[in-house]
């Protein structure tokens, strides 16, 4: 009996220690091996988690070699999941160069080596944390919503806001629009709607719930933008509605019948109006990194009826086209200048949304679609860049796909952008990361890697509003829930 046990133990140890072998003989193929996610010829930051992937082909056996300089990792397929420590070692070796990936597959007793590909490793690191909202791509309903944060250097994922902790059977709750001051996780805000509604603002250890509804405002604050240095947040206020396409592939349209811009002072709990131009729909504020300019989008729309008519704007929805403007801002006097045109999209028959300025102040990245402001549902939406130094505007062809590209966020060093894309199936949004060089050109983006490479093909939720952060948010869902159950502090409105 003892001998059997020892034999089994020895066999077990042998199996544990044996590593997959590269076949001695194989046939060369010039075909690319089908893999998911598509990580062929992508550029990744030096501090990235392993790019786990899956072979999408039938084979008896498969072996994958990842090589950089004299370092290599050999894995068995079809799911390729290199050990994280080995991967980190490989990244260090490949820094500024590339990891070569060779895929060997045994098909009908014949080993084949597919065309090798590279994963380029940039020496530029990316901010180590990414936050996003996990939401089903529903239209009106919501049930389980969470704000999650994921360490990009490994696969750790945490929930820091969960609406189910505040929802009851008699009242649901939506959470949205998480935003940080310069990617600082200790300075964040997000909104809760309906039950226990309000805006939760955390700032260096203090946490407040604000009730921003006021008679002088269209709505409570919606799309936020933290001033980079001051304790100020610019918001749009929106009268939002939804309508549904009977036949178009877009399926849903989210529209504003009215919208304005406001400024919220975190210390004074005071709101002032930034922009309330007649016949203009202002939305999506974004500060320049020096805090001297507030960028925003605005669509000129004149109602044919005497007053705001929701059915009219629904009928004429494809006439709503947003341009990008900016206003100067004096932090001392808290005064804004006049609006200046930055990018005139409507003359091109297009609509521009989500302006985001690179940390060096040179590049303006935005989303461009045929019309409207809710580009996540527009299959034609793409990312475009404007060089604020030269005035050149160009499509980010290296980044864009045939399907939706929408929300985007810069890394603090300005070398990476994370953006949401529906390129794989047109329905579920996934975060993609791309390198941006000094000339504003992007590299081929890669999908956020998951521990189980097949995760994103099974997961029925979208990654919404991906925002890079310098560290993790330290709040727990229970702390947030407890705060949200309090009454919100009212704001005062100060007219200009």
């Amino acid at each position: 009996m003892k001998n059997v046990l020892y034999t089994l133990l020895a066999l077990g140890l042998l199996m544990a220690c044996s590593r997959p072998q590269i076949p001695d003989q194989y046939k060369e193929s010039q075909a690319e091996a089908p893999i998911y996610p598509d990580y062929q010829e992508v550029t990744i930051p030096v501090n990235m988690a392993p790019l786990n992937f899956e072979l999408l082909m039938q084979s008896d056996k498969s072996v994958i070699r990842l090589r950089a300089a004299n370092e290599e990792i050999i894995c068995e397929g079809p799911k390729v999941r290199p050990d994280i420590n080995d991967w980190k070692g490989l990244l260090e070796k490949a820094k500024g160069g590339a990891i070569t990936v060779e895929i060997f597959a045994s098909i009908k007793d014949q080993w084949v080596r597919f065309k090798p590909f590279n994963i380029y490793v940039s020496a530029d690191p990316i901010d180590p944390w990414l936050s996003y909202r996990l939401i089903s791509p529903s239209y009106v309903s919501y049930e389980e919503l969470t704000l999650n944060q994921r360490c990009l250097e490994n696969f750790d994922e945490q929930v820091f806001v969960d609406n189910m902790l505040c929802s009851t059977e008699s009242g649901g709750q939506c959470v949205n629009c998480h935003s940080y001051q310069q990617g600082n996780p200790n300075r964040m805000q997000f909104h809760a709607r309906q039950t226990h509604g309000g805006t939760l603002i955390a700032y260096d250890g203090t946490i407040e719930k604000i009730d921003m509804r006021h008679d002088s405002l269209l709505s409570a604050g919606v799309y936020p933008a933290w001033h980079p240095t001051e304790k100020l947040i610019a918001y749009s206020t929106n009268m939002t509605m939804q309508a549904f396409h009977t036949a178009a592939p877009e399926k849903i349209e989210v529209l504003d019948s009215e919208s304005d811009l406001i400024l919220y002072d975190v210390d004074k709990h005071e709101v002032t109006t930034i922009e309330q131009a007649p016949n203009e729909l202002e939305i999506f504020p974004a500060w320049s990194p020096d805090g001297k300019w507030l960028y925003f989008c605005s669509a000129h729309f004149v109602y044919q009826s005497d007053s705001v008519d929701r059915s009219e704007i629904t009928m004429r929805a494809n006439e709503v086209k947003y341009n990008i403007y900016r206003k100067s801002f004096d932090a001392k006097t808290r005064q804004f200048g006049k609006r200046e045109m930055v990018f005139c999209a409507d003359t091109l028959g297009q609509s521009a949304t989500f302006p985001r300025i690179s940390p060096d102040g040179r590049w303006l990245l935005f989303t461009l679609g045929h019309w409207g402001c809710f580009h996540i549902w527009h299959h034609d939406a793409d990312l475009w860049m404007k060089d604020l130094k030269t005035g050149n505007v160009f499509a980010m062809d290296e980044i864009n796909s045939d399907d939706t590209e929408s929300y985007h966020s810069w890394s603090s060093n300005g070398r990476w952008v994370v953006f949401s894309s529906r390129r794989y199936d047109g329905v579920f949004t996934r975060p993609f990361i791309a390198h941006i060089d000094a000339e504003g050109h992007g590299s081929k983006p890669f999908e956020l890697p998951a521990e189980n490479p097949d995760l994103h093909r099974q997961f029925l939720k979208s990654y919404n509003v991906p925002e890079l952060m310098k560290g993790p948010v330290e709040l727990t869902p229970q702390q947030v829930a407890s705060k949200l159950k309090d009454d919100g502090k009212p704001v005062t409105y100060k007219s200009k």
Binding site: S138, E143, T146, M164, L165, T168, E169, F244, G426, F428
Partner: protein, 498 residues
Amino acid sequence: MKKWWPYLVIVLLWVPLVVFESDYLYALQDQNLFLHTPLFYEQQMVKAGGLLTWIGSYLTQYFYYPMLGAGILCLLWAFFMWLCKRTFQLANTWIALIPVACMVLTIVTLGYWVYYLKMPGHPFCATIGSIVTVALVWGYRALPRRHHLPSVYIVFAAGLGYMAFGFYALLATALMGVISWRENKSFLGDFFLALTQIIFWPVFGYFRVFHETNIVNIYWAGLPVFAHQGERFFAYNMPYVFLFASMVLMAMKPSIKSRKWLNITIVAVVAIGLLKFWNKDDNLHRELSMTRSIETGQWDKALKTAKNVKNEPTRLICMMRNLALFVQGAKTTNGYRDGAKRPAAPFTIHTVHTAGKLLYLQYGIPNYCYRWCMEDGVEYGWSIEKLKLMTMCSILNGEEVAAQRYVNLLKKTDFHKKWAMRMEAMIKAPQLVMQAPEFKHILPLLRDDNFLTADQSQQELFLIEHIMSTPGATLEQRRLADFTMSYYRNNRQKLVEQ
């Protein structure tokens, strides 16, 4: 032989389930989803009681064959009775029929909740949860009374049990406390320990383990919540209350002797209770039957089901009957009176949450079918029905990759792989769609012109207006729409009130 008689009653329960509730049981699995993936398991386990819903979802899929699903249920009920007898050392096994009857009622009283109940795998949860409860108590009783083993067991059973089975483990802990009190005649010792564990573990779970359950619900994890649009319906919890009370009774008073009059009384009470509270709503049963007929393209059967309606039909029956006429060329409009009976539910039923999604697809508006599948999937949970409809909508919209995503999920089920593979063939060879019986009559109704609008939960009106202006609809089909519109005009007030 006599000792097996109580178990024979369980066999008798199988008959009405299969004879009267086949469509209902099928609908339960159609509104359920179980996937053989680690992700599906992980998604269940983020809540206390996650293992219970995972097992419940797994077993519910066997209602695909109603006879098989009902058979499994009956076997589990019989096992529960046997376990009760052993665990509580019952002198009279007939007593255990009472909790079994309650378990039956947790399933057959639901009615329209089949579409609205948010708990995955709920048809089996009361049964599995109760078996776990009694099994945990059996473990407690079986342990030797030395080295504080029973006390240690209480702590582990309450802690680990709560994480996996929610409320049912807390109930087991309470029963252990009751048994301890019965044995020792003292509120100290294990009784007190059980009480502390019942209080402690849900709070610990809330702060340290789970982030999906509101603190007000932590003690009820693993139980269904009968709430809709802000209103709670406690009457539907009553079978659960009696189920738990009967288990407490068995733990407290196991020595009730078997007497003929008592046994007859128990059987009579159980029979009357089941007869009284069993949902016998003819309209709902016809709706479910017609839905199944339409899904499988049995239009004649759908028409026959509608024709034999006993009372005034619900609007949905009329809508499905009109659809069947529409698909068959609208040649038979006589011999049927229209109706608009309010569905027998304690809250307003919108057709889009029941069979309305299927109607949108059949009338050639896949976007709206898809929309309501997505909305309901988010709110009430993903199901086989929704994934199938979303697959078909995506195929009709030419969204092959999205369709393939849903097909891939359906291929991870036990009973819908074949269907998924048929759809996969169409995704790979779209020309097959033209010949597919599921799509043949839908294709001419698809429209290229797009409108940005909303149905405002007035599905039938929306559909009629849409059909009347659909170029692909035949003259007879438009006449049928016009006919229905006249009915609407004449009965506007009644329909609006609904």
